[in-house]
């Protein structure tokens, strides 16, 4: 028979004010299998815990129930106390007499009776508890950082500087990300590239960082501390070990009219190209979609030009495998194109630009060398309209959230325009100005007051072209809702920041959750902003939500610390609340019939196939096995298993069944 010890806490008066705790202890003491039942003012206090420890030894208890506050509060406390007394901590359970009883009911008979029922329930459960051992898993101290923008760069450098190896993968030919495209940064107006490129170079030269550009994650398997990443190295068609990066091939390439991604489509590039002059690595790749040779089978001019014979026409994508212990997701964001806005011309007006395109116009390294000129005719626009919240905060567009950075960069754009076109006239249509940040509000005020940018609070209903002008029809809500019509030379849309393309598929590969907008979901909005729900995978930067550079860098460093903290352990200890498939003596081996429906139900890919073989090596049966590293203990498989062959430790079928039955017994 069980020997359960029951300890009822008064919690000062928090419980005893409405629950007759003496009666609870008395009645529970009469229960079958209860060896000892007492009540005490503060069970969690030192003397309280001592009572438990002494009772465990004195009565040789094989189970403990503490009737006190929520287990979410003190379960670890009491389990530790039990462990210290030599009782397996998982033989200790808590009945929630405070949050679920004394605090929510009036003093009275029923409240005490409910308290008794709650304790009884846990006594019946604990009778079925099994001693469990914590799970220990080794840690591979190498991190994978996905995405080579400022977030990935920062995270990689920070992790590498703690002495751990980092693998950084970037899907474009160069690291740098969006930050490398920016002209000047708010609120200081320092040149984006000037502050970024040294870090890019540092990444390339860091002994602890292995950089793979033009590479994408193919799959990630395993679990915290023990991931295996398969990485696709896309064929660059150029052998980087021999290429000197001289650039001769680029100059000779006959395919010159490809819209440049780096210039947001405003400039052009060649088929063999380096995305931008400061690229890291500063060596070209061949864009096979546009290359004459790959398209038509002839050309090979670059090959003839190349002095060192670095062109590799037949190079194929390569898949490599890397063992890592943690992953940092830093895949960044994207911005909506102008074609997303039918009311602003569906992308058909050349002089309606996105903010990112304007960045390129304003950038000294851009297609106009920093001069603001119209893409349509090269003229300098005399009247320019900026439309903030283009898509953002608009449920009808499916983007109800604020993209956060647009208010600031729009102010910056208008300011840059006024600095460059002195007789120009700029108007910003806005909903609200969100300038929360150090020196941000001052920056916006400067745009309005010193640079005389015309701020109109209202939305723009339509932009259309008429006689070479862009007619901007909006409303000024501060002037009593008066309609405003501006004949502009250029319109810049602060288009919404959205999740990067492919983020949904990537999330599924990694088994991390994502929000309805496909931004990756953090584990807790307040307290775990850089963790994901999948242990060992962390977030940095705008892949989690739109954010500006300082925030991104801060978050990247945060993620790096999480990785470093993880790597400070040689092995990890986890709660053994995981599912297990039963194993029996032959000839049954297990009641599992291997239908593997659990495999499809498992959110964590924790179900593996285990082959049961006879001594001669012949296959008897294939049954399911739970990977204890991957299993997070949700128990979905348990409820799903028809033959009850899989059970979850800590919430076994026997335990929950006993609880329910005891609750309803009169």
């Amino acid at each position: 028979m069980s020997k359960i010890g029951v300890f009822i806490c008064h919690c000062g008066e928090n419980i005893s004010a409405t629950v007759d705790v003496e009666r609870v202890a008395r009645e529970i003491g009469g229960m079958e299998g209860v060896a000892h039942a007492i009540d005490y003012k503060y069970m969690c206090s030192d003397p309280g815990q001592t009572f438990i420890k002494e009772a465990v030894k004195k009565y040789d208890l094989d189970g403990v129930v503490v009737g006190a506050c929520s287990p979410r509060m003190h379960e670890p406390t009491f389990r530790r106390a039990c462990a210290e007394a030599g009782l397996n901590p998982y033989l200790c359970e808590m009945a929630n007499l405070r949050e679920h009883c004394s605090w929510v009911h009036e003093k009275g008979e029923e409240t005490t009776e409910k308290a008794i029922d709650l304790v009884k329930m846990l006594v019946e459960k604990v009778k079925k508890n099994n001693p469990l051992e914590s799970i220990k898993v080794p840690v591979t101290k190498r991190a994978l950082v996905i995405g080579g923008g400022i977030a990935g760069i920062q995270a990689s450098l920070d992790i590498a500087n703690t002495g751990h190896k980092v693998i950084l993968i970037e899907r474009d030919p160069s690291i740098g990300g969006h930050m490398s495209q920016l002209s000047e940064t708010f609120p200081t107006l320092d040149c984006s590239q000037c502050i970024l490129t040294p870090r890019m170079v540092e990444v390339a030269q860091h002994p602890n960082i292995k950089l793979y550009t033009y590479a994408e994650l193919e799959s990630l398997e395993g679990f915290i501390g023990n991931f295996t990443a398969k990485i696709r190295l896309k064929a660059k068609s150029v052998n980087y070990s021999t290429c000197t990066g001289c650039g001769a091939c680029i100059q000779k390439c006959p395919v010159k009219k490809i819209p440049s991604e780096f210039n947001a489509g405003l400039g052009t590039r060649t088929a063999i190209y380096v995305p931008f002059p400061q690229a890291v690595p500063n060596k070209p790749v061949i864009d096979r979609v546009n290359c004459n040779y790959y398209k038509r089978g002839a050309c090979k001019i670059c090959e003839k030009t190349c002095q060192v014979g670095s062109i590799e026409w037949d190079k194929e994508d390569e898949i490599i495998s890397e063992e890592v212990g943690a992953v940092v997701l830093a895949t960044g964001f994207d911005v909506k194109g102008t074609d997303f806005f039918p009311e602003y011309g569906y992308g058909k007006y050349k002089d309606v630009l996105t903010g990112l395109q304007f960045e390129r116009l304003a950038s000294a390294s851009g297609p106009t060398f920093g001069e603001i000129r119209r893409p349509s005719d090269g003229a300098i626009p005399k009247k320019i309209v900026f439309i903030a919240c283009a898509g953002s905060r608009d449920p009808a567009k499916g983007i109800p959230y604020c993209s956060k950075i647009c208010c600031m960069y729009t102010a910056k754009h208008a300011m840059l325009y006024q600095h460059k076109v002195h007789d120009g006239e700029s108007t910003v249509f806005y909903m609200d100005i969100r300038a929360g940040g150090k020196n941000y509000e001052e920056f916006v005020r400067r745009a309005i007051e010193e640079d005389t940018v015309n701020y109109v609070r209202g939305r723009v209903a339509r932009v259309y072209e008429k006689n070479g002008k862009l007619i901007v029809k909006g409303v000024d809500t501060l002037l009593g809702g008066e309609q405003v019509e501006i004949e502009a030379d250029m319109v810049v849309l602060a288009t919404a920041g959205v999740a990067n393309c492919g983020s949904e598929q990537l999330a599924q590969k990694l088994h991390v959750s994502y929000d309805p907008y496909h931004f990756f979901a953090e584990a807790h909005p307040k307290l775990k902003p850089v963790e994901t729900n999948t242990a060992g995978i962390f977030l940095a930067g705008a892949c989690q939500a739109p954010k500006d550079i300082p925030e991104t860098v801060g978050m990247a460093s945060g993620a790096a610390v999480k990785v470093a903290a993880l790597f400070s352990n040689n092995e990890l200890v986890r709660e053994p609340i995981i599912a297990v498939v039963n194993r029996l003596a032959p000839p049954l081996y297990s009641t599992c019939v291997g239908c593997f429906m659990c495999e499809t139900a498992c959110p964590y890919n924790a179900i593996e196939h285990e082959e049961i073989k006879a001594r001669d090596g012949s296959l008897i049966r294939t049954i399911a096995r739970v990977n204890s590293g991957l299993c997070q203990g949700c128990g979905t498989c348990v409820a799903f298993c028809r033959s009850k062959s899989i059970d979850i430790q800590g919430y076994t079928n026997e335990q929950v069944y006993a609880e329910v039955m005891s609750l309803l017994n009169d």
Binding site: L588, T591, C595, M597, C598, T600, T622, S643, N653, E654
Partner: protein, 266 residues
Amino acid sequence: MEKLRERAAAILADGTVSLVIGYEEGTKRPRPLFCHDGESARKLIFDSRCFHNLAVYLTKKELVGNGRFAVTATISTLRSIMQLYVENQLSEDKLLILTVDLSGTLREFVTFDEISAYVEQFELKRSEREQAILTRIEGMTREERWNFWQEEMSHCFKCYACRSACPLCYCTKCVVEVNRPQWINPWPAPVANMEWHINRAMHMVGRCTACGACGDACPVGIPIDLITRKMMEDMAPEFGYIPGLPVKKGNALSTWKLDDREQFIR
């Protein structure tokens, strides 16, 4: 039919298979037949009276052994075979399907894709009997349905013929045989009986191919097949599965959609 016998005898003779599971004439109706040689293959029949779902035998290792075997399959049997395949219970290299199509031609299938393509042509409809009883049940109030089923359940004596006849009840240990905890009382009593049948229906969600074998098998005439039938009809459109044409991975209850119905959730 003659072709079928010849073919069965031939594949038994040349060692392609070691067993052909088919039908022979029984006492009143055709019944399952196990042919191990050409001799017994002469008894084979295959016509519209053959109602047993022979897929039930395919998961019994003691019968089919480790070698290759053939089965003469009705459409219902084929549907079950597809589901068994998805549930990792059958493999193509062990199984050969013989069937006679509507035009009377002998057909053979080796791959599950072939079976799938063939099954796809046949629509699953309520039979007259099913229609009649279901219409009656659907016209009842909830209390009437309760009383109807309680009366029916009082006849169930837990012989588990429903389970034994179902090709998809292939667990080595059924949940009713699990006794830690004893989820479902093993003795026959209306609630224990109903729990068993609700449990059976739940286990069939997204799996039942509506072959009706369970109902046919019930010795006390409880229309138990209609519980799963109705569930299948309710769930199929909701979860987008077609009985007998399962998706290759997962089933209705192991997958989900973001916009699954939830008006009933407060």
